[in-house]
């Protein structure tokens, strides 16, 4: 137990809770999601287990709700204290290469998402792109600049992914905190533009 009430003294009044907000970092397995979280998080990324709903493909499990099963997967997350009353959480969606996941438990209420892409394995990000399009959640596609790759023209990536013109397709470096921060801001600016248009 690392919290001690301290001998003889009652702990002080607990501090007020900050307002939590969250963003999602999604993408295929090993694409740099956790690296991106680590680049801007105040604390090293933690790993917890998230419940995900998997739409069963041709598998019948009569003991569960038809066509859906819930499994738990490891998920990394970090946080940034933006000011004493506002805390941004960054959740990396589980890096699964299986299709058909629903990440509702992770994404519910998120401000937006960054879909991290390795341009050599573009197809790995399709489930994430599909998911956020369906949820109409603001997102940007961020091509991770791996040291050993020839940069991919962003226009080609956009064309291959066939995302709407509104969706930013950018290049970033998951190891660089400035680059990750700027990418998150691009997502938030899209979210803000949408929120203002809807107001």
């Amino acid at each position: 137990m690392d919290f001690e009430a301290g001998p003889g003294g009652l702990p002080a009044e607990p501090a007020p809770a900050p307002m939590p907000v969250k963003m999602v970092i999604a993408g295929g397995f090993g694409v740099g999601k956790t690296t991106a979280v680590a680049a801007v998080s105040d604390v090293p990324p933690l790993t917890t287990e998230a419940a995900i709903t998997e739409v069963a493909a041709g598998v019948d499990d009569v003991s569960m709700t038809p066509n859906k099963t819930t499994t738990t997967v490891a998920m990394d997350f970090g946080s940034v204290m933006l000011d004493p009353t506002l805390k941004l959480y960054l959740f990396g969606t589980p890096g699964q290469d299986r299709f058909g996941f629903m990440w509702d438990d992770v994404t519910e209420g998120a401000l937006g998402a960054l879909v991290v892409v390795d341009s050599r394995r573009l197809e790995d990000c399709f489930p994430a792109v599909d998911y956020f399009e369906r949820r109409t959640m603001p997102f940007a596609v961020a091509v991770n600049r791996f040291a050993d790759t020839v940069p991919h023209p962003l226009d080609a990536v956009r064309e291959a992914l066939d995302v709407e013109s509104e969706v930013p397709v950018i290049e970033f470096d998951a190891r660089d905190s400035n680059s990750v921060r700027d990418s998150l801001i691009i997502v938030l600016e899209l979210a803000l533009a949408r929120a203002m248009a809807a107001a």
Binding site: M1, F3, A5, L10, P11, E13, P14, A15, P16, A17, P18, M19, P20, V21, K22, A39, V40, L46, T47, T48, E49, A50, A51, T53, T70, T71, T72, A74, F77, S79, V80, L82, D83, L86, K87, L88, Y89, F91, D105, V106, E108, G109, L111, G112, M137, D176, S177, N178, R181, L184, I185, L188, E189, A191, L192, R194, A195, M196, A198, A199
Partner: protein, 133 residues
Amino acid sequence: MSRDTGEKRPAGRGTQPGVVRPFLLTEGRVVAPGAELPMETQVVATTEGLRQLGALAFERRAIVEACGVPQSLAELAVRLGLHLNVVRVLAGDLRAGRFLTVHEPRAAINTDVDVLRRVINGLRAIPTAAGRA
């Protein structure tokens, strides 16, 4: 009564403790799908809760103790080595018993223009590896 929901977890995942099947701690109760508190929900011990710690044991006590500092359900789960959904159930119990206050994120916070602006400005101001941008 105590349905063994722990059985449904994939075997041999090699995650942490697991000496006790996770949902034994909740007497087999799980949170109804869709009714889960978001994982960034903040939980804070009440002054009364910290004073009444002696009335609690094991995980419940550990949760209230840890919540002397506000934190999210996700952080709490990691810190105590508990399954997130177990923490969700226990935090609900402890809220009902007034040991904890639970601060759910505001509804429709993701389309709140003021909140979005605050987050953008907050991110712009964070010191990064290259110093202040």
